[in-house]
Amino acid sequence: MSATEVLQPPTGPEVGEDAPRRSGSFWGDVFRRVRKNPAAWVGAVVVLAFILVAALAPWLAPYAELDTPGREHLRPTSLPVPGDLAEFPLGIDRFGGDVLSKLIWGAQASLLIGVISTFFGLVGGMVLGALAGAFGGWVDGVIMRLVDILLSVPNLLLAVSIAAILGRTPLAIMIAIGVSQVPIFARLLRSSMLGQRSADYVLAARTLGLGTGRITMSHLLPNSVGPVIVQATLTLATAVIDAAALSFLGLGGGRPETAEWGRMLTYAQNELAIAPSLAFLPGVCIMITALGFTLLGESLREAMDPRTRKR
């Protein structure tokens, strides 16, 4: 999955030196290049729409999250599909919940789980990566062995095992996905920082008598963090998909009618013959969201890639 594929960090401060520069800073240049990329615009619009829907869910959704307003329309052998009933434009599910409302509330759940788990992964990975990159030596060795152990189990399987141990709660899912992301961020930041360690400006700072902590925080980290940010955007796509996968496997906990895209798919399984839209709609929502983050992340990556920047 390209979203988990590890980025090559830019090699040192001379990145993009040959690029004809109009604005002075690296980030200004990246921003200008991203703005010219139509894929980035599509991604940004999708991501923005997703965030807005998620944030405004209480106002946008016609019904509350756990409401079952369509109960009287339930029949054992059929379910109203999109277009059948004016008051439920996207139909109702087996619990009598309004599918449109649940999709909107589901966006909120996905955003929360996606952002918080990626935040956990990012913080955990950056702390480990920064320690390894700043100190090197045995600290680096110990941390990288730990990362190797985490990497020895396939990503989603790791998340699933952790969530299974922590119990069936949304927080367990967030922690599980976060931990499974730690290795990517740790490796990325470490290799990015190792590339900077021998740079002249770091040597200069060391000569001036600055301590390791100070050099790490104010020199190494700000200059190494670019690829990590890009990876985080791409990882959000994976996190949304993984969150859906985990709740699909029944690890989300809470009431069965909870509005989560993955869980909606779980229950759609039994209705596949009579109401395929119950599976189709949440699936498409997951896909579009993941697509948005992927497009945005890849445009950022392309804009920061020293090989394309030179052209």
């Binding site: 152990i149 989603l156 095992s161 141990i165 798919l265 013959a273 699936g283 896909m287």
Partner: protein, 334 residues
């Protein structure tokens, strides 16, 4: 070469050791401890005490770990709480199903992905290129279980062409001895049984193949684009080297290096995907069994299967590295 393989196998030992420590303490971190997991949520304190005594769960943790590790090294991974059968036996019974499924998925992904990526690169900037780039982007972002659903709905529920669940119809008269049903059918000459097993594999394999397929298309395309403009290819053309030789020896062989690495990286994805795909299709492999064990908190199965999968994963990656050095002689020297 042999030294490299030996070194890699030795490096695997500390990783697996670390993993076993993690897995051990994971289970000890369960609310109520392993005894509660064994007995279920409504266990009485007396019953828990009895189990703790019988299984030694009240001994000091390092001592318990050493005992557990000692059993693991003798091939005793404990018994499944659900089925009461040895974990190792459960794994061996189901592993061929998943391998069969993964191999077919990989064949689909590589067989379609590499030609598609190559053609996209050769038609760079044209309609075919745009379509394959767009499709592969969709392929990466589609959740595998959702795709499995859609395939099941279309081909099994709507069209009725292919079976929805299982590995083989119950009515089929088939002899099994390797555990690979398609292979068994061929070995025993029961071609109808082989065909029946094959059509059961088709939908789950297709679902499982999609993400690796999309990734292989992207990597092949990018890699061919990079190689096709290389100086040595231009020199070859200028010298009048035939088109086939340019394609096969100059472009493809060099462009395949990143692709082989990518294929190796897909094995993790295949294993994770198998958990989800097998669940949707009720396919009796390690994935579906593991998903069930996760739900039932069958911790001996969870521990054992994660360890087995880690070993398999590491060995496959080692194989990939070996094949890498065969394709690229420059790697062989190191």
């Amino acid at each position: 070469m042999l030294r490299t393989i030996g070194r890699r196998l030795l490096l695997l030992i500390p990783t697996l050791f670390g993993l076993s420590v993690l897995l051990f303490f994971w289970v000890r971190a369960l609310p109520g401890g392993p005894a509660a997991a064994l007995l279920g949520e409504r266990a009485t304190p007396e019953a828990i005490e009895r189990i703790n005594e019988a299984y030694g769960f009240n001994r000091p943790l390092p001592e318990q770990y050493i005992t557990w590790l000692g059993r693991l090294l003798q091939g005793d991974f404990g018994n499944s709480i659900e089925t009461r059968r040895p974990v190792l036996e459960e794994f061996i019974n189901r592993f061929p199903a998943t391998i069969e499924l993964s191999i077919l998925a990989l064949i689909i992904a590589v067989g379609i992905g590499i030609p598609l990526g190559y053609w996209a690169a050769r038609n760079h900037g044209k309609l075919f290129d745009h379509i394959s780039v767009g499709m592969s982007l969709l392929g990466i972002t589609i959740p595998v279980f959702f795709l499995a659903f859609m395939l099941k709905w279309l081909f099994a529920v709507q069209l009725g062409w292919l079976p929805t669940t299982g590995r083989q119809d119950r009515g089929v008269d088939a002899t099994h001895f390797t555990g690979f049903y398609v292979l068994d059918g061929f070995l025993t000459g029961e071609y109808d049984a082989a065909w029946n097993a094959f059509i059961h594999l088709l939908l789950p394999a297709l679902a499982l193949a999609t993400i690796p397929l999309a990734i292989i298309v992207r990597i092949t395309r990018a890699s061919v684009l990079e190689v096709v403009n290389a100086d040595y290819v231009r020199t070859g053309r200028a010298k009048g080297v035939s088109k086939q030789i340019i394609r096969n020896r100059f472009v493809l062989r060099n462009a395949m290096l990143p692709v082989v690495t990518t294929i190796g990286l897909q094995t993790g994805l295949l294993i994770s995907g198998a958990v989800l795909t097998e669940t949707v299709f009720a396919f009796p492999g390690i994935g579906a069994f593991l998903a069930n064990a996760i739900f039932a908190r069958d911790f001996p199965v969870l521990q054992g299967f994660v360890l087995f999968i880690a070993v398999a994963y590491a060995l496959i990656n080692l194989l990939v590295d070996i094949s890498y050095s065969i394709i690229d002689p420059r790697v062989r020297i190191q």
